[in-house]
Assembly symmetry: C2
Homo-oligomer: 249 residues x 2
Amino acid sequence: MTKPTVTAAVLMIGDEILSGRTKDRNLGYIAEYLGRIGIDVREARVVPDVEDEIVAAVNALRARYDYLITTGGIGPTHDDITADSIGRAFGVAVGEDPRAIAIMLERYATADLTPARRRMARIPEGADLIENPISRAPGFRIGNVYVLAGVPAVMQAMLDFAVKSMKTGAVMLVETIAAGSLPEGQYGEPLAAIAAAHPNVAIGSYPSFRDGRFNNQIVVRGKDAEAVAAARRAVEAMVAELSGDAVAR
Amino acid sequence: MTKPTVTAAVLMIGDEILSGRTKDRNLGYIAEYLGRIGIDVREARVVPDVEDEIVAAVNALRARYDYLITTGGIGPTHDDITADSIGRAFGVAVGEDPRAIAIMLERYATADLTPARRRMARIPEGADLIENPISRAPGFRIGNVYVLAGVPAVMQAMLDFAVKSMKTGAVMLVETIAAGSLPEGQYGEPLAAIAAAHPNVAIGSYPSFRDGRFNNQIVVRGKDAEAVAAARRAVEAMVAELSGDAVAR
């Protein structure tokens, strides 16, 4: 029995990513994390701190994928508008959540629960809270949307909690074959033939460029272990042959 | 006379970014680069190597922003399907471009121009070429869409060429005020009041978390130098007062 495919999208919310001021480190982390447990990230978007943009992206992505993970915009300042935007996307009210206030009172004395901090307890109606062991103020889940912080350390801690309520599918198996300085232009044709002969896997070729030289890696991805192994062997044989190793040995 | 606002979106094409295998370094670079010359990046997306997805994203984004920059998928292997996808998005044929072949013959002997390498000369009809000083195979521009490589060094060299044909608007001015360990929850309310009193700028608060401590920065962004300076002074005064500096002095 094969496990189903479970999909997700990631929505990063914040002007600071679109200005280049903050270099996003969340997408790669979330993609790897979910991939390891059998959830395939299929799309990602970055939108500014503009309610209409957040609402449109949330509704487009939550309709299309099993899960949507958002990052950013749930802090105590005026530019943190994610909770209100999510409420609008779902057509539900957003109010101060007594559960969130109770959690925050574990960290803050009542006198220190400023109006700004109370903003962090604004949660859309019907949402479940997501624990935040770092700074307490929780994220939340509503429907298939998981709303996490943007600060990487906090996001990562919230993700550990969030995934507990996600269903998972077959894990994507990944095999990487080093092609070294063998040029893509030389192996492109035989690699296309291998890809055509192995339709149950996805094969990608990834060059990197450092110190004036290209270094290439070929990646085989798939959910069927035998299919992945067969494709990997075919790629390895091709690389060895083109590198002259097959002859040399 | 105020300069107009010029907008752009960035579309990153590639399974490897959505799997987390490759951590994107292009968005931040492009966002900063375009920001410096007066083009505001307003949205970014990442899609997999799937033609339907690329076509849909290209058509959504090119209709909405002055420019669309794409990265990735223009190499010589079978998984490089950006040129064909762009051709379909524009409804034009994609064929081997004699100008691109001529450029590639500067690097490769005719005998080395393998079918795989010739794939890199497939350019949508009506496109202009974008120079690639690193590895020659060009990018291209069609309409308001600029199609660049995914390898950062190559993308960066292509971007230098690409921006020459872009119109630019007023540059976004950015002022960063260090709030240090002053908690967002303490300054959230007065900062919201400052933001409300300075409607011609955008004010953001950005926490980072390291070694168990939050470190906060407040950023003022806008296109009117006087408005940005006034908001910056207001933020600085608030930070000084809350930090006790105003009293200490």
